[in-house]
């Protein structure tokens, strides 16, 4: 009797232990498909910082505050707006200079966020590529699962991004922007018709290229764009970065320990 129980227990243990090793046909097919998808997707993951001084030796321009003279002629609408936004950088009046929305911690938009001297981490997960910017914790979710742009939201500060792979290149299509952000630090405007296309690829194991095209018929007479180069920074981590200033912070610690004033 005891032996029958022992035999039954051994049989059950063996059966249970074998279970994970005998996947169903459906599981096999699913895993194979997922594996093929992962294998076919180029790897852009990692922490990247934009090359500035070093960009020139790689055949790229050293952009600091703006994208140089790479734009196209502005429409009268954009030229009129630029008369107001341009002095935010070139002007000397403090109120005008400070009216740059980024100085008030409003989102910088795209492509301006690429101009900041803070790294970005790219994370690839099924159906999405995430850009985790150090600057003020901005996250861009680039959906690569074939979905269309979300026509029910917006207009958005950072736009709505979808992506697809073309060989070794991630092609990111972003639309549904608001017209509150600027293209760069010197005030180049864009409209809510901005359509941004980024082509992102590894040049070699150490460097990545982001080539972007600005299509905005309301603001520019023809599409324009440029190329940026990023360096892999495997030894960097993305740190906390906060735009909001401390001067306006209400310190409850100090309030709690302050000597109460006598009432009048």
């Amino acid at each position: 009797m005891r032996n029958r129980f022992v035999n039954l227990a051994i049989t059950l243990v063996v059966a249970v232990s074998l279970q994970p090793a005998i996947p169903s046909r459906a599981q096999e097919q699913g895993n194979a498909a997922a594996g093929a998808a992962v294998a076919a997707t180029p790897d852009l993951s990692g922490v990247w910082s934009r090359l500035r001084d070093g960009a020139i030796s790689h055949g790229y321009e050293n952009y600091v505050l703006d994208f140089g003279k790479s734009d196209s002629p502005m429409t009268p609408w954009a030229a009129a707006k630029y008369k107001l936004t341009g002095p935010m950088y070139h002007g000397s009046d403090p109120q005008t200079v400070m009216s740059d929305p980024v100085f008030q911690c409003f989102p910088p938009g795209v492509p301006r966020i690429f101009l900041f001297n803070f790294p970005v981490q790219i994370v690839q997960i099924p159906g999405q590529v995430l850009m985790l910017f150090e600057y003020d914790h901005f996250v861009r979710r680039i959906y690569t699962d074939g979905r269309p742009h979300d026509a029910e939201q917006g207009p958005l500060w950072m736009g709505d991004s979808t992506g697809k792979w073309e060989g070794d290149t991630l092609v990111v299509d972003t639309a549904n922007f608001n017209d509150k952000t600027l293209i760069d630090r010197v005030g180049r405007p864009h409209s809510d018709a901005l359509h941004l296309v980024e082509r992102i690829r590894r040049i070699d194991p150490k460097f990545m290229e982001v080539a972007f095209t600005v299509e905005d018929p309301k603001a520019y007479t023809k599409p324009w764009g440029t190329k940026l180069i990023f360096e892999s920074r495997p030894d960097w981590k993305i740190m906390e970065q906060i735009c909001e200033d401390n001067a306006g912070f209400i310190d409850f610690n100090k309030k709690a320990t302050a000597t109460p004033k006598k009432g009048r």
């Binding site: 100085f103 001297n117 803070f118 906390e240």
Partner: protein, 129 residues
């Protein structure tokens, strides 16, 4: 009553201009990049925090009068990648700060260089945007 209202209007209008460091992430625009000012004194506070690292330096002149200068640098993230950390400067340290003074004449500097008492030079790498 009317005079009081005008004081409020003028005061609010001037507030951002009088207090430079109140603006978050304001870049180098409020500072006079054409001139460098050097200040030597005793650190009364050092905050290695976002959005800008700040150093307060008490400077005593020949007549014994002490004034506090504020030196502002980049984000601690950028400075960390240039060898800084939260312990690199301490209260009571004798330091020299060199930077561009605020265009409004306040005792604020956009730091271009910090020299510690032992002669070590720190690069505040002020470019961020």
């Amino acid at each position: 009553m009317r005079r009081t209202s005008w004081k409020w209007v003028v005061g609010l209008a001037l507030l951002p201009w009088l207090a430079l460091p109140c603006f978050p992430h304001h870049g180098a625009s409020p500072y006079d990049a054409s001139k460098l000012t050097t200040v030597k004194g005793t650190v009364s506070d050092f905050q290695f925090i976002n959005p800008h690292v700040e150093i307060w330096v008490d400077v005593t002149d020949d007549k014994g009068k002490t004034e506090t200068w504020t030196g502002e640098a980049n984000s601690p993230n950028v400075l960390s990648r240039h060898g800084w950390d939260r312990n690199i400067i301490k209260k009571g340290d004798q330091i020299t700060v060199i930077g561009n003074r605020g265009k409004n004449g306040s005792k604020t500097l956009r730091l271009q260089k910090v020299v510690l008492a032992n002669g070590q030079e720190l690069d505040p790498n002020s470019l961020s945007d």
